[in-house]
Symmetry: C2
Subunit: 157 residues, 2 copies
Amino acid sequence: MPSALRFEPVATVVGGRSEPVDDDWDGVEAIVRLDERFEPEALDGLAEFSHVEVVYVFDRVDPADVETGARHPRGNERWPRVGIFAQRAKDRPNRIGVSICRLLLVEGCDLHVAGLDAVDGTPVLDLKPVMAEFAPRGETRQPEWARELMAGYWISS
Amino acid sequence: MPSALRFEPVATVVGGRSEPVDDDWDGVEAIVRLDERFEPEALDGLAEFSHVEVVYVFDRVDPADVETGARHPRGNERWPRVGIFAQRAKDRPNRIGVSICRLLLVEGCDLHVAGLDAVDGTPVLDLKPVMAEFAPRGETRQPEWARELMAGYWISS
């Protein structure tokens, strides 16, 4: 195996929710603020995209709580016991989250976004423009439990 | 800013292409092999998903070559000069790639995949199931240069 890798956050989430909750993220607005080592030109042209993909770290998760095997998603025994890599839960190895949010405005080194499921203070590892070509190619399939779990995630039902 | 973060690869890409090229990735098959600290149960239930999202490191990129400002994508002056965070190029801060590929088969600690745009030996930081609910919410928009750049990326035209 390759050895450990070191990363420097490129940005931080400012504002939005201060505590992680399970659902209703789509109405949350926040700022993703680039680290001061970057100039605004690192964001040039990003405003032409409607959505941004944010790679971030669930840094509030205690490394001791990370699941490395299988468990019921959200501890719900009505759903099957599945491996941590078959879930998008935050207490996962490396604690990395990847999420697509709407880009409202680019202002200097600040991205104003809506629907980012990361709390205030979250370290951000990368920002990427969302291109239609990076959507899944071919027919998609997912189990019923995933659909049930996600039902209120963005907009509570 | 939060200080540097350390990550341990959870898996490695085995097979597929040995050199990075720009285009025609969809026909490439490879294995994503979980690190030996994991048991196969970490992948339980993943086979019910058609697609997997792979978070990986462009570790062949020399850190000295990382772009932190703006440039023409692929050096093509017909396309606008845009910030590195408005591109998905590999020579980016933290050198992280995020890509969705088709899941062909789960076999022990091996995922057989197709259309993963990462070369043999690439360290993988995370694996996530692709859920329709994590697609962009709302209408999407992207500039013309991105469409042109992506034209032959998955299947050469």
